[in-house]
């Protein structure tokens, strides 16, 4: 019992020590919090105070009334001016002016400049931001590398291609993905040879992300062929998605092969892609897969037939045993205008509710009912 008798004697000093320790941490946290609040408020005020001056400065550089050599930027204001230039670069894609809503009227005359894009880029370069970004690609922090890559993408500095290609083998996936995205945005062709490797080096789960990035790179069929012939179903599925672009007749034969794949998801993706190609050569493939065991594949065919205006196929799929397939077929028919609606009317007896549903709905332009 001696322990218990002593317990309160040592518990109090222990608690006091803890209070002192935690109190110290608490004070440190509180101070950090206050400092952080103060810094944020100060930074906001700083930006508000200087924004017009920075705009004026950029405007003068833009007009050529100020020499680059005469511009001395402090460390603190450099990131803000850089953001301003990137913002300007983005806006000129549309009309080469500042949005009047943002009350930057002093900058409105930018509209009259003939080539904003090149000018903004020149200023960006002359102020040393390009050099900073190139240096940023070698930063030790992965997020700084990513940020630098994204700025280069924002400003369209294709001259960074070599450095970006090197980053495709960066140890951080975030950096690899960012570099790949930027190269795709630049329309670079030099990473094509690495596509297979990029997919293999990434986890099978992230293939969807890679597909999202590469879809807009419009990879040539030859680049995708090895993926389509791979033993890995994820790669075949990725190829099936990436091959589906309007006007790519060359990809049809490869997609036709993928539409016969043993894996349901690959077949479904291939069918959807075939529809996206808009090629009449896809129709025989659809016809062959009309009896596919998977309702999801048949539903994809129904959707595809809608895009290719194939009324006869849709009529057949409208009486499919699976609701999902019928639903998709009715949705596609309702997009086909009066002819499609006429077919739906014929089903008022057999599938009363479904037919009435689509007859009541207004035909949707460009959207799907499903």
């Amino acid at each position: 019992m001696g322990f218990l008798e002593e317990f309160q004697n040592w518990a109090v000093p222990l608690a006091l020590v803890l209070i002192a320790l935690l109190g110290g941490i608490l004070m440190a946290l509180f101070l950090t919090y206050v400092i952080s609040l103060y810094r944020h408020a100060r930074e906001d005020a700083y930006v508000r105070r200087n924004q017009l001056r920075w705009l004026e400065l950029v405007k003068r550089l833009f007009e050529g009334t100020l020499r680059y050599a005469d511009v001395k930027l402090s460390r603190r204001e450099r990131p803000w001016i850089r953001e301003l230039l990137i913002d300007a670069f983005f806006r000129q894609e549309f009309e080469c002016s500042w949005d009047a809503d943002r009350q930057r009227d002093s900058f409105a005359e930018l509209k009259i400049q003939p080539s904003c894009e090149e000018r903004v880029r020149t200023i960006y370069n002359a102020l040393g931001f390009l050099k900073e970004d190139m240096r940023g690609l070698g930063s030790r922090s992965w997020w700084r590398r990513v940020k630098a890559v994204e700025r280069l993408e924002d400003m369209g500095f294709v001259e960074a291609e070599d450095a970006l290609l090197r980053l495709l083998s960066d140890k951080r996936p975030e950096v690899r993905f960012a570099a790949l995205k930027t190269l795709a945005a630049f329309g670079s062709k030099r990473f094509y040879s690495q596509v297979g490797e990029i997919f293999s080096a990434s986890s099978s789960w992230s293939y969807l992300y890679l597909v999202n990035i590469l879809y807009y790179a419009r990879l040539p069929v030859e680049v995708l062929e090895p993926l389509a012939r791979s033993d890995n179903p994820y790669l075949r599925k990725a190829a099936a998605t990436l091959l589906g672009r309007k006007g790519e007749a060359k990809s049809v034969s490869l997609l036709a092969k993928l539409a016969e794949d043993g894996v349901e998801e690959v077949r479904r993706e291939a069918i959807a892609s075939l529809a996206r190609t808009g090629s009449a050569a896809a129709i025989p493939v659809f016809w062959r897969r009309l009896q596919d065991e998977s309702p999801q594949v048949r539903a994809a065919i129904a959707q595809g037939m809608g895009e290719l205006d194939q009324l006869v196929f849709l009529q057949k799929l409208s009486s499919d045993e699976e609701f999902d397939v019928r639903f998709q077929a009715f949705a596609a028919l309702s997009h086909l205008g009066p002819l499609g609606r006429e077919v739906i009317v014929n089903y008022k007896g057999k599938y009363k509710d479904l037919a009435q549903e689509f007859l009541r709905l207004e035909p949707q332009k460009g959207g799907s009912h499903a």
Binding site: M1, L4, E5, F7, Q8, A11, V12, A15, L16, L18, I19, L22, G23, I25, L26, L29, F30, T32, Y33, S36, L37, H40, A41, W142, W143, V146, K147, E150, P173, E174, F177, A178, K181, S203, W205, S206, L208, Y209, V211, N212, I213, Y215, Y216, T241, E322, F323, D324, F327, Y351, D353, L354, Q356, E357, R360, L361, E362, Q364, G367, H369, A370
Partner: protein, 472 residues
């Protein structure tokens, strides 16, 4: 007799002290883990990986909105859900036999027409009376069914959903426009199978809302909702981020959580015999994946925000907390097999024991401590010096945890910008230790005695319309 009692009190004091230290250091460790996680996510967010044009080939998502007597808020909420920026989205509202005019409001506002939609009836639910679709926006589907509870409504939604993923959202919530895009990011870039993703829920009371969007978050004027802001910040940014880091996230809020529909159907959907259907689902998913020896992740994403109305009255808040606690208890007991079982990984070895010892038994220890203090006082054996020091220590710990969470908000999401709100939060971080926390513990304690007898039904919360107001 007095000697024995004295011994008991002293032993118990020792136990409470150790328990107290353990629980607080555990919370502190969670916060440290959360810091690491939050810093990563914020860096990630800055890098804008999912830009518009790179987010088109994404998996389809159904927003499942179970609704019971939601007449005042349903139109605004559905409107907000339909405005969510996501390429392949459908919104399924499940009217769970509402006794008010929820269905009528939906019919009128969205011009609903009767529709047919095949249900695979994968999960048995209360009878579905009718299916509707909106003429104005065909992405909106309304399932009108007999009352069966929230879990039953979600199951009905799962039956009618056609999407790869679904997100359960509360009918009194508002989603930020890009919330789904931000939530789906870890799913797209995953390096393992991601089964579930949870976002942050924040109180919307008194915030400036325009056109279904929270344009200026504000700390509520009333005391109880304001306290809940602090509590939500601590729970989401502190707790769940930390659990996510350990891959032991056992709770993904039913108010905003994204799951793979196929996997949820495989575990039989939501259990209808519990009030904690959201936690129960997550725990069963952990269990299933571990039993099948599969690699997976449950991810908390500390950025996409769902704004919700929190209770403003004490009785409603008490009922809500009682329900949450009963859900926790039921889930723990139902999945007891996982407790300290290495087969279930971190979820079984750390997550479950933590929730059992600290979340479930915490109120018991706390109130037994108070009771013993009273007994000791009657017997005249209270060591007031010890009691005072212990109380101060508890307050310091409490403030420390709250302030740490506030600091995380400041460095990461920075939702509240008005200095008035920031000051209010700091004040609340201190004040919540004097009365509010004890009140919450009491409500949680009462739940322990009501696990068996309480009906599994919807929580009754008095709904008020979202107030659309202009920022001052």
């Amino acid at each position: 007799m007095r000697e024995v009692l004295l011994d008991i009190i002293l032993w118990y004091n020792l136990f409470v002290l150790l328990y107290f230290l353990l629980i607080n250091f555990s919370y502190l460790s969670l916060l440290l883990l959360a810091t690491d996680r939050l810093i990563y996510f914020m860096r990630r967010r800055r890098t804008r990986i999912c830009k518009e044009e790179h987010c088109r080939l994404v998996p389809s998502v159904s927003l499942l909105v179970p609704a019971y007597n939601e007449e005042p808020t349903i139109a605004e909420s559905v409107n907000s859900f339909l405005k969510v920026d996501y390429p392949v989205l459908e919104v399924i509202v499940i009217n769970d036999g509402s006794r008010d005019k929820t269905l009528e409001v939906l019919k009128r506002r969205f011009q609903l027409i009767q529709a047919s939609r095949g249900s695979a009836e994968k999960i048995k639910t209360a009878e579905v009376r009718a299916i509707y679709r909106s003429k104005l926006d065909p992405r909106l589907v309304v399932v009108d069914k007999e009352n069966g509870g929230k879990a039953d409504a979600l199951n009905a939604g799962l039956n009618y959903s056609r999407s790869k993923l679904y997100a359960g959202v509360d009918a009194d919530s508002l989603l930020e426009r890009d919330a789904l895009k931000r939530l789906i990011q870890p799913y797209l870039e995953r390096d393992a199978k991601v089964l579930g993703l949870g976002g942050i829920i924040m109180p919307a009371n008194d915030s400036v809302i325009k056109d279904g969007i929270v344009i200026e978050p504000r700390v509520p004027r009333k005391f109880l909702p304001a306290m809940q802001v602090m509590e939500y910040i601590r729970a989401f940014l502190g707790g769940r981020s930390g659990w996510s880091k350990l891959n032991s996230l056992l709770i993904i809020s039913g108010a905003f959580g994204l799951f793979e529909r196929k996997e949820v159907l495989k575990v039989g959907g939501y259990r209808t015999d519990t009030v904690g259907e959201d936690m129960d689902l997550v725990v069963r998913l952990h269990r299933k994946m571990r039993e099948e020896g599969k690699k997976y992740k449950m991810v908390f994403v500390p950025d996409p925000v769902c704004w919700t109305q929190v209770p403003e009255s004490q009785s409603v808040l008490a009922a809500q907390r009682n329900r949450w606690q009963r859900g926790l208890i039921e889930t723990i007991l139902h999945n007891w097999k996982m407790m300290w079982n290495p087969r279930y990984g971190m979820a079984g070895m750390i997550g479950m024991p933590f929730h059992f010892f600290f979340e479930m038994l915490g109120p018991v220890v706390e109130f037994s401590g108070y009771a013993l203090l009273v007994v000791a006082w009657i017997l005249g054996i209270v060591n007031w010096k010890f009691a005072l020091v212990f109380f101060v220590l508890a307050v310091v710990f409490g403030v420390l945890l709250s302030l740490f969470s506030l600091l995380l908000v400041e460095f990461t999401t920075r939702k509240y910008h008005r200095s008035k709100d920031v000051l209010k939060l700091v004040l609340l971080a201190v004040l919540e230790n004097f009365g509010y926390r004890q009140l919450l513990s009491w409500w949680r304690l009462t739940a322990l005695f009501g696990v068996q007898r309480r009906k599994k039904s919807w929580g009754q919360m008095k709904r008020t319309e979202f107030v659309t107001q202009e920022a001052k």
